[in-house]
């Protein structure tokens, strides 16, 4: 699977006169021409507000928006499009669930893992829940046998893949255990939706959250899948477009998904997710997974065999991100020097401070991969690391 790099115009750009090696995909992915054209065409030919108008353009826009919802629904294996809500992103999706479930969560407990992004920590704290992490081994592999559910446990909220380590959590096993106790499970798929074929029925989760911009679509748009059994929870946000009858005494709401989409949504963003799904399915998720796995494993092996490099975490099942540090060299220095060689990585705590504390470090260098990355990119990273070490010698 080569040649997809040319679908992404930004990748033809030179940075400081060097070929761009973009390895910051866990932060955001680049966009293929088909997605960029879809957004631009929408504004050129179809733009209008949705679900309200009587006129032609409003009908076309509404249709395109709902078509995008259908694409998401079938992409993640939902029963019906009504289970798919468009949000502003993963963070917004998780916050909405936290707000809706707040009456149940307040004073009770949410089980998470030790590798979570702050966006799967802070919303639960804001909802008044206490957090407990499922134990993991020294490689940050989740110990599902040690999951302890108490009377106070009201939800399990776990990432599908770590944004720092790239480790894939055993989400099926976790939902199986949760079901025995009738506890709902939220899966944060921000770092897996672009890498792995995902089927919510197979995973068995009640909520699934992800962002458009990490899967080749726009920023400011995301998805929250809600299983049918939670379809009647209280909406987290109120406003126009989600109500049936409004009086000063009280309001009745529309059925999902519109119930959860107050205000004018990010219409072009939703349509861009549809275009991104078309793009990925045009290649095939299995093919993307195989190619990325090849490049990812190659990069990881090359890092592991490089002197003075520590690579963090190992669960066997990995995707997306690799975190590492160079012996006696600060991650920030590494990132700055790689940047000047045209290699874009991220450095710091990656919004996962509890994990950094567990690892006993301040931060890491993170290289994260997408479908357009190649072994050549991994080689460039290794060469870059050689240069960083030389400059510190």
């Amino acid at each position: 699977m080569t040649g997809h790099r040319k679908d992404f115009p930004i990748l033809a750009k030179e940075i400081y006169g060097k070929r761009l090696v973009y390895l910051d995909n866990a932060a955001t992915s680049q966009k293929p021409n088909s997605v960029i054209d879809t957004i631009s065409d929408f504004y050129r030919s179809d733009n209008s507000n949705i679900h309200r108008g009587v006129h032609y353009l409003s009908e076309v826009s509404s249709e395109r928006y709902e078509k995008a919802r259908e694409k998401v629904s079938s992409f993640i294996g939902a029963d019906e499009p009504a289970e798919v809500t468009f949000t502003a992103g993963t963070t917004d999706s998780i916050n909405q669930v936290a707000r809706s479930l707040e009456p149940v969560l307040r004073g009770n407990e949410v089980l998470i893992t030790g590798v979570e992004h702050h966006s799967n920590i802070v919303p639960w704290q804001l909802a008044g829940a206490r957090l407990r992490a499922i134990p993991m081994d020294k490689d940050c592999d989740l110990l599902t046998d040690s999951i302890e559910i108490t009377d106070r446990t009201k939800l399990i909220a776990i990432s599908h893949a770590s944004n720092v380590l790239g480790s894939i959590n055993p989400v099926r096993e976790v939902t199986r255990i949760a079901k025995e106790h009738d506890i709902p499970v939220l899966v944060d798929a921000a770092q897996s939706i672009q890498h792995l074929p995902i089927d919510v029925k197979d995973i068995g989760c009640d909520f699934l959250a992800f962002s458009g911009h990490k899967m080749y679509a726009e920023t400011g748009i995301g998805v929250l899948y809600t299983s049918e059994r939670f379809s009647e929870i209280m909406p987290a946000r109120g406003g126009g477009g989600m109500v049936d009858k409004v009086t000063l005494e009280g309001t009745t709401y529309l059925k999902p998904p519109l119930r959860y989409e107050a205000g004018t949504p990010h219409i072009a963003g939703a349509i861009s997710i549809g275009a991104a799904i078309d793009y990925m399915q045009g290649i095939g998720m299995d093919k993307i997974r195989r190619h990325e796995h090849d490049v990812y494993s190659y990069a990881r092996e090359r890092l592991l065999e490089t002197d003075g490099v520590t690579v963090y975490g190992n669960t066997g099942q990995m995707c997306g991100s690799i975190s590492f540090n160079l012996e006696n060299i600060h991650h920030y220095d590494t990132g700055l020097i790689l940047d000047k060689m045209g290699i874009a990585v991220r450095t710091g705590h990656h919004c996962a401070q509890p994990l950094m504390r567990t690892l006993g470090i301040e931060g890491t260098v993170r290289a994260s991969f997408a479908l357009y990355n190649t072994k050549e990119d991994a080689d460039a990273l290794i060469d870059g690391i050689g240069k960083v070490r030389m400059m510190h010698a």
Binding site: H330, D333, L336, I337, K340, M341, E362, M391
Partner: protein, 135 residues
């Protein structure tokens, strides 16, 4: 107003490729005397930086002396340049000093807003200390 210390620094960086500029900063970082671990406290640290930065200062014969340090070498190199420029001046002069060398050696335009913010907080802290010493 042009300033001789800053002029010398600008001359050293003139015409250098990016990696050579970083190499030079790393060499300055290596020459900088490390701050004693007992001063590397939360109180002496500056927030808003991508790498931890510590600052302490004292006055000698009416002149301010800063000691800055960072765990990252390139940041440390920049700290060493800042010390060369601001140290050994009366507080009033430090407050009024235009630190134009940062922009001229390409550090400001190159640093992303978040990183520039880090450097900006360091300069703000230096000025605050100097203002405090004026009273």
């Amino acid at each position: 107003m042009r300033d001789t210390v800053q002029e010398e620094i600008i001359k050293q960086f003139e015409g250098l490729e990016w990696l050579d500029r970083y190499a030079l900063l790393i060499s300055f970082a290596k020459e900088l005397e490390p701050m004693d671990a007992k001063f590397r406290t939360e109180k002496n640290s500056i927030s808003g930086c991508q790498s931890r930065v510590w600052i302490i200062s004292h006055k000698e014969d009416g002149r301010l002396m800063f000691h800055l340090d960072s765990e990252a070498m390139i940041t440390r190199g920049i700290m060493s340049l800042l010390m060369k420029v601001v140290n050994n001046r009366p507080p009033r002069e430090v407050v009024d000093l235009d630190l134009y060398f940062i922009e001229e050696i390409g550090l400001k335009s190159n640093l992303s807003p978040a990183r520039a913010d880090g450097l900006a907080s360091i300069i703000r802290r230096i000025r605050e200390v100097a203002e405090g010493e004026m009273n």
